[in-house]
Point group: C2
Chain length 223, copies 2
DNA sequence: GCAAAAGTGTTTCACATACACCCATGT
DNA sequence: ACATGGGTGTATGTGAAACACTTTTGC
């Protein structure tokens, strides 16, 4: 039996939530699209394999990554029985873009508009999206997707694209700021409005201390 | 490489939260304590293997079970490399007790007072407890542990033993009842008090429809 | 009658929502 | 000046928490 990892890698470019896919350069199913993945080596854990693969792809360390679920249907891989441990990764797309390892033929797709995937990878993506929505409603997780400097309206756009709905800007801003997880910077982003919106950065210390605390980020849908 | 499943089985006897462990009847480490587990067969998924093992042990179908996490450290099993997919199961201890399959040498231990476990099973238990606390704060999950007839104070005892703290009985009762997940029965339990507490049962229809809704079961600790 | 646990009532407070309004600035 | 998006102020309502109180029953 083979053990593999597959990574559902989410990125945000300031507009839309994206998903990183690779076009397989090898058989079987060469040319088709799949998640970034690879086999777990005899001397490493699945966690280590996922970290290794992400590092090779991006050149970056310290990317947010979390085990999602293990997929083990006996016929999930058509060639040989392979169990796959799926991981979700969240990364700031700007940083990533510059370093994408070319060997992978990796492409960012809008989250709701990507090619068909091989094996059970679509199941994995669905589960990852579901879990992202779940977690982001309770934890300040989506900050992991933001660049080092960002505005509150940009962050709101990310939330709105994750939840496919619109939030009140005033309430959103207050809620985010009430966590005290952000530090206001002196300068403004003037690209998206005339008035300009202040930049913020994550207060890493507070963020690391509070990220697993329950915080209510998403408004209740009034039915 | 071998693929195994291990089950963290929680039970509630009306007083304390318990954990089911087995004394190994085979080498290696015969006589030591471990979680209930087994190997995944070539023609089954990990989910199916966990369900099969639990069924064999208990004789029961339809027990609540959920994949917890996959443990894959290369040296986690001292004999041969074995990756284990861990599952959490919640079951009504009264039902279970009667049917425990004797081959397993299974014993219920109080959750905070059990023997040392082999391999990384203690890690699994810790993670399962953590996840149980997390989920039960948001979902009516702990109802899975209750017998077919139970009182609100009994349920409160379960919550209190999961969270190691005491809740206000009035607020607890209102909160649970506000979910509309319980149906009041005509008779009372008079063993635990003179006045007696009404029995309730789960409204299965509503429960199945609402179990993944966000509900706030656990009072915020005021620091 | 009294003790003990079940269950109800009530006050208080925090906070989410909705939405009106003001602010800063590029054109 | 005015349109545009950023940001603040504020009224309203809901619901959690705290805790006093009533109810029921066995002894």
């Amino acid at each position: 039996m083979l053990l593999a990892v597959d990574c559902i890698i989410f990125g945000f470019d300031g507009q839309d939530l994206k998903l990183l896919l690779i076009q397989r350069g090898f058989q079987p199913r060469k040319g088709e699209w799949s998640l970034v993945g690879g086999f777990v080596q005899p001397d490493e854990s699945a966690d280590a394999a996922a970290a290794r693969i992400l590092k090779k792809l991006s050149g970056l360390d310290g990317i947010y990554m979390e085990q999602l679920h293990t997929f083990s249907h006996p016929q999930r891989d058509t060639v040989e029985r392979t169990v796959s441990v799926a991981y979700t990764a969240l990364i700031d797309l700007q940083k990533f873009k510059q370093h994408l390892h070319e060997d992978f033929h990796a492409v960012w797709f809008p989250i709701n508009q990507h090619p068909e995937l091989i094996f059970d990878h679509q199941l994995m993506v669905n589960k990852a999206k579901e879990q992202l929505r779940y977690k982001a409603a309770l934890h300040p997780l989506l900050l992991e997707l933001m660049p080092s400097k960002f505005t509150i309206p940009q962050l709101q756009q990310l939330y709105e694209s994750v939840y496919n709905s619109e939030f009140d800007k005033g309430n959103f801003s207050r809620k985010i700021l009430s966590t005290k997880l952000l530090v206001k910077l002196a300068d403004k982003d003037k690209l998206n409005s005339k008035k300009g919106a202040f930049y913020y950065r994550i207060d890493r210390k507070r963020y690391d201390a509070n990220k697993q605390a329950f915080l209510n980020f998403v408004p209740d849908p009034k039915i």
